[in-house]
Amino acid sequence: MNWLFKHRFLISRRFVQLSLILLYGAANWWGLKVLQGNLGSSSIMGKIPLSDPYAVIQMSAAGAILGFNALLGALIIAVFYAVFGGRAFCSWVCPVNMVTDAANWLRRLLRFDEAERKVWMSRNIRYWILGLSIPLSFILGIAAFELISPIGILSRGLIYGMGFGSAVIISVFLFDLFAIKNGFCGHICPLGGFYSLLGRFSIFRVKHDQQKCTLCMKCVNICPERQVLSMVGKKSEFVTNTECTNCGRCVEVCDDDALNFNIRAFKKANKE
């Protein structure tokens, strides 16, 4: 029971991630028309369109005048994450998260961190790739990141069959496992970078309570974007760094109730 409580967000996230794939799959395999399409673009009950705003931006840069449904779908998704979710796509929806989390779990289990040579890589590479993808789409006339996106490869693969795409996913797994901790999701992936920028002012955030903190650092050790927890043990405040994926692992592992999800307060609290 305690284990369940200690993994409540992890279990919910896996439930959401797997249900989405199952619903997409059910539409393809059995014709169940609840959620059709895939993470690129989909349709709820054949009526409400949803689409990936980053893909839509790349395609527009490539010179495509897109249909109304694609644009409306992108707007719905963009507003949802901008207002509520922040970067929650990465930890609650994206299937690659399950792959890289598995790599991370093995890393902790086998204590790779203690032995391996550190390879430094900037966490800002994702923004460079994000920035590059737009002019490249324009020059090449095709959505540049969508051609190589492991997210697209995995989300399509699980629904329509992986083929050689599994090699791409295995390489992402091995990269995260052996080369760099959180290498893909935390450094390279421009979609994560996109949602970081988009979710800048989103309202669901983790809040740290410094009074309760015992500085055990379990939260920082488990966090896939540990730079966002810079205030732990120092200040009581919201995690406002937009690279936080709202995965909730820090909330779960905290034994002192010093971290919790909350609605962000934009007005600064009066100083005493």
Partner: protein
Amino acid sequence: MNNESQEVKAPLSERRKFIIQTLQGVGLAALGAVTWSAYATHAKASPLVLRPPGAIQEEDFLAKCIRCGLCVQACPFDTLKLAKAEDQIAIGTPYFKPRSIPCYMCKDIPCVPPCPTGALNSSLVSMAKENGAKTLDINMSRMGIATIDSDQCIAFWGIQCDACYRACPLLGTAIVVDHTRNDRTGKHAFLAPRVMADACTGCGLCEKACVTEKPSIIVLPLSVAKGKAGKGYIKGWDEADEKRMLEDTEKSVPTTTTTPQSSKKAVDYLNNGDL
């Protein structure tokens, strides 16, 4: 002397550090961009791919397809597939291979309306009725065009086979059979199939039906299979084609050059000239 001058080197200004660090990123980005676009250019170049009915031109299609697979899910015959990494087709885009599963030409074309981006355009496969309403007409689709290898097609050898002709959903319109005398036997006929370019939809039922080991009739994309006569050649006996000439001349800039000499009329030369 040298050592002294090194000691007095001023520390780099913050601005200079910032510029240097940015340039480091630029250097990496340049290498990345070249690798990335080399791959993308390669991945784009798949000229032999057949797209679903109503697909816009390949170049625009590549820009407009969001790879959602709604067309694939709508296809009741599992004809359409999304390209996988090993397929040599821009990854995630829909295509079909007629020899495995051809397009069975559903009357209601279920694959086209779900497309959210317009990469599949229903106006390309709909007929305007008299009252202005549009109805879907699969026979308008141009997924490709069937082409025959008359060297390997056994009907051209004189063996009786009309598998493609019988399989064609536009039997007698998109594929016709030409009867010619077989001089080798003196008493048989060649029943040679011929594809009519103005009617063939590229559904590939013929390719699926072909009896030769490797199909002797295959569907090729229009951009690959079709030639273009160009402006230089007009069917003078065909009024519709003559209009093509007029359209072209209206659009083009007049090519008559006027010089001081040519602006004068020949009559003036005779009347006022130095004769």
